[in-house]
Symmetry: D5
Subunit: 147 residues, 10 copies
């Protein structure tokens, strides 16, 4: 089964069951952000995790098996993104990218923030002038090797 088809079924089942990502995450003892990422087709579940998710969402065995296969990542977001919510993060790269690069180099030297040894978190922070989205990107710094 194509992973995209599995994703479609998960989204459909989640909606019909009225579940939130945190509900699914709690079943497999993962964060909501990782769980959403993986179940939207961008991560790999262990057999045990996949079975639990399958039970919760009522997936058939073929779909459960597909969730344990390492996916081709990155195929669902067209670039540049047409969706305004995702585009704003793209715009942040355009506008704030040079500053991000320079500040990381200032604090760490030559290297990058890993997008693999990486976790993220999304919070709603109340604010009288309008609640705020706070996205925390947290990646290990990797120093450029010289040899």
């Amino acid at each position: 089964m194509e992973r995209a088809e599995v994703t479609r079924r998960i989204v459909e089942a989640k909606r019909k069951l009225g579940l939130k990502w945190i509900d699914i995450a709690s079943v497999i003892d993962r964060s909501e952000a990782w769980t959403a990422t993986a179940l939207l087709g961008q991560g790999t579940l262990t057999n045990e995790e996949s079975a639990k998710v399958g039970d919760l969402l009522g997936l058939d065995p073929e779909a459960v098996a597909a969730l344990t296969v390492i996916p081709y990542r990155g195929t669902t977001v067209p670039m540049p993104p047409t969706d305004p919510l995702i585009y704003r993060f793209y715009e942040i790269l355009l506008v704030y990218g040079p500053a991000i690069k320079d500040l990381i180099h200032e604090k760490f030297g030559d290297g990058i923030m890993s997008a693999i040894d990486y976790e993220m978190d999304i919070q709603r922070v109340e604010d009288p002038k309008g609640d705020r989205v706070v996205v925390t990107l947290n990646g290990k710094f990797l120093t450029y090797k010289k040899w």
Copy 2:
């Protein structure tokens, strides 16, 4: 004077004077992230801010004036980014973008995170397994208007 030329001079002066962004930021009482963003050509300074930066970095009056002009933003990062540090953030959009969209909608409803009423912060967090880059993106949630 072209803004790109002003940026070039700022970067050069900053390097020769051995300054960090936090040093420049402290002169105008701004965060290092905003200061780096603006002085790398992506923000607008008040006359007062520009004069102070000009004094610190030894910029000529024409460059000082140019910093107060609202810039055409987003022209310095090619897309997709060729620089590995910036690319990792682009990759985060490809891989984590669908989860970011879904989680924000779950927590806030239909709308976006503003990239204008927005601030960010970059920290180095010590970790025995390798220090980590923690980037916090903080934007006001804007609800899609229905009329």
Copy 3:
């Protein structure tokens, strides 16, 4: 059900019933512009709105449910637009874009017009030399935050 399929059914039902957007809009007490936008796959209806539209157009429950899901926006217009009507608006950006940017900055300072806290209106204005299309774009000004 894919949102594109729902859109297809709405367009078909609207044509067969001989309805105009204003007819559908009046059922949910919204403007014709917002109603057309949402039902062409770019907006989210409340359960109540969706039920009313479903009744009017004879949509099945699955389609009614799909209208309440926040969509991936922006996927139906190829860029640059191949359709001449839509292209003219793209051309307006090419030709008038720099003036629009400069005039907004002159009147408001550094920031943007929101496309989220936004409404629009389209009118036919009679004119002896040929009636005119008048499109009004109305968005909240958002000031660039400095922090």
Copy 4:
């Protein structure tokens, strides 16, 4: 003289003289929107208009002459736009484009809104919840000819 160079000089002179577009427009008895469009390199001035603008801004004869030459339009905005202010209008095409097309057809039949027999206006409208940018696009409707 290249038109882009003339534009650069106009922008510089306007800034140094502390003029607004409306000030320049009043000298040639045109609207501020048309004046900004033309002087940013996207329109053609008569000899008389060009002379008056040249006097006001202190342009040399070669620059004055260049303003009367019909320009290659559309060369200054990269697509998709990287600047957030201009991008929002591009996003409006992505999200609202299908509704704009359908509503114009509903009101006028098969044809387009002209971007040539066209005028526009930009206003600041006060609003206690935040002032609003109101952009009015006004173009003659052109019916598709059948022959």
Copy 5:
């Protein structure tokens, strides 16, 4: 029914019936060029025209109805065109485009040739050195409005 599917059926029926565009055009009292354009998915027929074409080609009611819907134009020719016949016209723009622009401006001033108030004609002209294709493009001149 998708317009592309209607086009496919028209092309198939036309071939099986051994008709030429001029034969179809004569039934609706239009030129062969407009008739071919419209029936290849780029124009809108009146109910009467559509009924006549449907009778001639044996189209079912759903296809007949689809011909009266204003289409999304321009979706069938990839750009740059891969087909050599269409590419030659694209090449004409590359090579002769600057001269076309300059000559029209010399004869008419600042404005464009309309592609909406437009007709065209294609003729075979005998020539002992090889017959020639003569394509006549005829569009109303539209003067750029100043306001």
Copy 6:
């Protein structure tokens, strides 16, 4: 000397001398369309033609020599064209291209209209409802060889 520089000088000299393309064409006994095409950098002049044009426009010997070198064609029009006048012809390909292809095949069989054994003409045709631009494209039909 780069051909683009020669073109720039020709355009400048033509404007200062107040000449039209037909004036230059008459000196070398060519049509205005070919003359404009060639002098805008898309054609090759004989030594004699180049000398006459050089005399008329006051070009220096290096520029005169450059006009006799076969150019790299097609480098001055970006695709898709940003200039509205040229874009309309591009749009004609998008909208009328399939009909043009089919009608030429109907009249000639399998082959193309040459863009090399080709001439064109641009006329202003008076019309009480607005004068019209009439562009005639005239190319030899070339039959696809079978071997």
Copy 7:
């Protein structure tokens, strides 16, 4: 029937029957290169040729008819080509293109090699250091018309 589907059937039948292009070519008295080109969807057969090919390959009448329809050419090779064999010819354009242009101009003057009045041939030439592919491209020279 879509031409792509006919091509698919031809390739399948050819493989199952163990035929080479030369075998099919001999039935219609054409070269193997033209035959392969046409049957891979890039050429037009006469009714007689199509019937013979249909007999040989066991095509049904609809497929036989489809081979006589003039195709949209050039739709099967993505550019740049991803297939290494085809890419090498693309690379030849990148590396040898300027020399090809200059040498043809030196030998013929201003014009092009026709790709319509064109034939080609592909031979295997034995060589002790490794057999060689020899592709001969043979097109009529077309002189740029001046008028």
Copy 8:
């Protein structure tokens, strides 16, 4: 010295001296096709070859040295090519590419024609119906290795 600048000087000197590629080729005992390729910036000369070419064309020592440096190839032809002569070869790939691939595989098996162990030749062949350009591409067949 940039190789592009060396190329420019070679082309200029060749034109002023009235030389053909065959004249330059004879000095270094190479074919005209290879000589044109290399001197247009796509090949590497030995010190001896470079010195001879430098003497013939009057190049300075820096230019002579630059001809012996292995170049970055393929940077001078934009893709798709805008020049009609070069475009025809690109079109040959679009139209004849699938047949070329299939015929080479039929004659040689799985592999490619080398564009490195490669030579080519361009001839003018007289023909009463119009002289023909005959381009011979001759490359070693390379079999795909299996291991």
Copy 9:
């Protein structure tokens, strides 16, 4: 049968049977790298190899036959790659490409590393600081021919 469909079945069968590439490779006496490459649709099997693979994986005769047909290569990886694992190799070209080119030229002269007479190997090398992926690319050097 489309090769992509055969690939899909192979991947599915391999997963269900719990095989690794080395298991399949051992049946046909090839390396795991070549076997994976070929069975993922990028190589050609002999009849014997294909039959053995078909037996092992339980493929039907049509799929077995399809594996012996020379494929159109390179169609499964979008460029730039969206998958992070594949992207890192793309990034290696961006960052290390100039050094690779220069070092190969320094050691071999003007030419290339063949991607046809080529083999590769992928190993896991244990390392206390984290195991390493070692990819060895091994291609015959091909000298640029001069003629």
Copy 10:
């Protein structure tokens, strides 16, 4: 000083001095591959390394300083690469990319090969059938974090 200008001077000095990368590498006690990478603008030198390289190549202080600034990487190789040597590695991604991905996952699980904690080596291996280029890519395996 722009890094590209520094690179240009290094390449020029290296050529004039007749040095190889290994000669420069030995001065700073690094591998030739890293040294070439860094000095071609893709790496950062320590002050000490930079001073030594500057002494060897005769660089001025500004160039020496520029080598210690962390560069924007990846700006010198256009994608897809036009140079045949670099293109072959790009082709390896197209053809062998899926196998590389699958084999690494088979040996390591879900993650990537780092291009940062990475080294490479290029060797000439003698072979009677033609010497071979052996490129070894050696990167730390990074496991996808789950949280």
